[in-house]
């Protein structure tokens, strides 16, 4: 029973981490709270619908969704955020909220307000090891999240691009003085973050077998909570906080004797950190 | 001469770096003191400690024999220590005269009684006089972000003077200025001195300080390495060594 909760928690933790990473990467290089990111997450799920009409295959769907969201992220930073980067902080913030709203409305107008099932039915096996039952769906999400995280780790820590991203996040002027093209680095952070969010959206669409216009709402505020707890701009913090949140939710749900609104936990955690340690776990 | 400001064995570290390793300096009333040292020596950190922006990890700072090292910047300003910044910090969208008025309002910000009163004719008069003193009177209604760097530096001095301070800390007042603007700043500093203000000037180009200051202290890597008249200091081998690799010493 405990292990089941843990696996469940790791799966949702993986999703939270993937989504929040986009926020962290963007905040790190641009210092903007990219609320619209949750709209890009939902876009990933909706792109699966289009993908399946072209070629009904899950691998193709992933590819299609991630490329679409990466492109969307690129366009957003190029045409919306970059031009207003020197404005007071409130301006990109409202722009982002406006974009998030617009995206949700577009999804509703194009695909309808209803919950749409994922275009392919998956039959998840439950793997039994002795007395422990491991649901296949959870394992799939967790494993896939780990794969993406591993790829991200490799990019951030072992490539020049990753080094550039970390340098720009640390101090843009110094990075530029060292010859780093911050424009491209920022664009790349958006592309990578958006692609991850798109993947997460698609995975959630698969896992819950549902796609709907406001599916970005809860992830929006949960990923905010994750980056606050983890430390805004810190990738390690996001990973720890993301998985931590997922696990904590699952454990509390499984073991508390009373009904606990699962979604409130992220919120409470966020308030506690804002009051006591606003820099978060790994923040500066 | 009596001591107006005393820095006693002040230490300050940031993470792994010891910016100040136990610095002691005394400033006499009415003195102009030069604080020099290569980049990264800790000069601005010391200013920030005196001004209340940082609090020393160890040691004390005394203003007229009263400890100020734990006070916030606005309290230090209230007590009579004003400062300028290495990189100018004007209130960008406010007009030149409003920049000065902000500081003139010092006494009104304490408590709540005067908060809803408007600046009066007297306040405007004082503001204009301060702007006259730094030669910015003609630009009083100009939005401050439109001013040149030299003008902004002078505005910062006017703003600092509006606090009616006894001590003024000038952080690299010549930075970024062209030759013809430098003279104006030197004149201004001399004028401040003649009014009886005690002044500490940070400047890492020693040449500019030579005629202005009576005494110089030299900081390097968070430590005081020399103290004396400008001539004594510029011939001090330790000082020369510290500056080796820097652009100009004399």
């Amino acid at each position: 029973m405990l292990l089941q909760q843990i696996i469940n928690g790791l799966a949702s933790g993986g999703i939270y981490t993937l989504v929040a990473l986009g926020l962290t990467l963007v905040y790190g290089v641009l210092k903007i709270l990219h609320i619209a990111h949750a709209g890009i997450y939902a876009l990933g799920a909706y792109m699966a619908l289009i993908a399946y009409k072209i070629y009904p295959n899950i691998y193709f769907a992933f590819f299609f969704a991630m490329v679409s969201t990466a492109l969307a992220g690129y366009l957003v930073q190029k045409y919306l955020y970059w031009p207003i980067i020197d404005q007071p902080r409130i301006v990109p913030l409202i722009a982002s909220i406006g974009l998030f709203l617009a995206l949700e409305e577009l999804y509703r107008l194009i695909w309808g307000p209803y919950v749409i099932p994922f275009p392919q039915k998956f039959h998840w096996k439950t793997y039994t090891i002795g007395k422990i039952r491991l649901p296949g769906a959870d394992l799939f999400v967790f494993a896939l999240s780990l794969i993406f995280l591993a790829i991200l780790y490799w990019i951030v820590n072992r490539t020049r691009i990753g080094l550039a991203m970390r340098a720009v996040a640390d101090d843009k002027e110094v990075a530029e003085a060292s010859g780093i093209n911050s424009k491209w680095t920022i664009a790349l952070s958006f592309i990578i973050g958006s692609a991850l969010a798109g993947a997460a959206g698609l995975m959630v669409g698969v896992y819950y077998n549902s796609i709907y216009p406001t599916m970005g709402d809860v992830p929006a505020y949960k990923s905010l909570a994750v980056i606050v707890v983890g430390g805004m701009g810190s990738i390690e913090g996001t990973v720890v906080a993301g998985f931590g949140l997922g696990l904590l939710e699952a454990l509390l749900l499984g073991f508390l004797p009373f009904a606990f609104p699962r979604d409130a936990l992220a919120f409470i955690a966020m308030i506690i950190f804002l009051l006591i340690k606003p820099e978060g776990l790994f923040g500066r | 001469m009596s001591t107006i400001l005393e820095v006693k064995n002040v230490k300050k570290r940031f993470g792994g770096i010891e910016a100040l390793k136990g610095v002691s300096i005394a400033l006499s009333k009415g003195e102009i003191l030069g604080l020099i040292g290569p980049n990264g020596a800790g000069k601005t950190t010391l200013f920030n400690c005196i001004a209340g922006v940082y609090h020393p990890d160890d040691g004390e700072i005394l203003f007229k024999n009263r400890r100020i090292d734990m006070l916030p910047p606005h309290r230090v300003a209230e007590l009579g220590i004003a400062r300028t910044f290495q990189i100018v910090r004007p209130f960008k969208t406010l007009s030149v005269i409003d920049n000065v008025l902000v500081a003139l309002g010092l006494k009104n910000y304490i408590g709540y009684k005067n908060l809803f009163k408007k600046p009066g004719a007297n306040d405007f008069k004082k503001a204009i006089e301060l702007l006259k003193a730094v030669g910015l009177e003609s630009k009083k209604d100009e939005v401050s972000e439109n001013l040149s760097l030299g003008e902004l530096r002078r505005l910062e001095v006017a703003r600092a003077l509006a606090l009616d301070p006894e001590i003024i800390l000038l952080d690299e007042p010549y930075a970024g200025l062209r030759r013809h603007e430098e003279g104006r700043i030197s004149d201004m500093i001399r004028e401040l001195h003649s009014r009886g203000l005690s002044i500490i000037i940070v400047e890492h180009r020693v040449r500019l300080l030579m005629e202005l200051v009576e005494r110089v202290v030299v900081l390097d890597m968070g430590e005081l390495i020399a103290e004396g008249s400008p001539d004594e200091v510029r011939n001090n081998p330790r000082v020369i060594k510290a500056y080796l690799g820097e652009e100009e010493v004399a």
Binding site: L99, L101, A102, V228, I271, L274 | -
Partner: protein, 288 residues
Amino acid sequence: MNYYLTILIYIGINSILALSLNIIVGYAGQISLGHAAFYGIGAYSSALIATKLGVSFWVALPSAIVITAIVGAILGLPSLRVSEDFLAITTIGINFVVQAVFKYVKFFGGALGVSGIPFPSLGGHRFSLAAFAVMTAIFTVISALVAHLINTSWIGLGLKAVREDELAASSSGVNVYKFKVLAFVLGSALAGLAGSLYAHFMMFITADDFGFPLSIAILSMIVIGGIGTVRGAFLGALLLTIMPEVFRPLSDYRMLVYAILLILFMRFLPEGLIGDESIVWKKIRGKA
């Protein structure tokens, strides 16, 4: 006729709301994304005092203002210790928590809200709609005068200094934290006034009236109108109040158009229509 009076009353209430947020965001430069919460606190306090204690509107209104100011202080004191981006998140949090309290705590009526809120009356005679409109107009003018007073007095200078550069402000003798809290309290108090007017006008309020979308709408009012100016707050309130009416023929596309307008404004006209830096305003003044 009644229809137009109602719209005017909405414009008035929204103007007061916009002016109140302008003190926090426009003058002091703090990011508050949860202002609807204080609107709600004003509305609920006024409503509950009037219904549960049976007092008249004329007692409930000032009480609501005071209560909202106090809550503003209580919430502002811890929140304003943190830096900009955290304040944005914290204020979103405040909005959600306050709304949840109204929705789930029985004292506040829960999902059913508060009903039976008395319309203002004087000497036994219930106000006519026109009378309410006149009263709202008077309160709107008073709010504008308060905002103007703040803008042109020492506190205004201090707030604007905080907005421009906290370090320079502090070094010039401004107690940054104190001024931030003051801005928050003043903004909350005015929002409480607007809330009370709203409650006694609608005579029925629920938690859904005071959610995050409204906070964004109020923010949009001052940014579209021209942040930091009284005239901008009025124009923004006017535009955003009549917008749903004007857009009615668009029916299903209303929200999308609103969202796109927000984006376009932020992207191309962030100084607002008649803000100090706005091209439109400068042209009107004959400068640009």
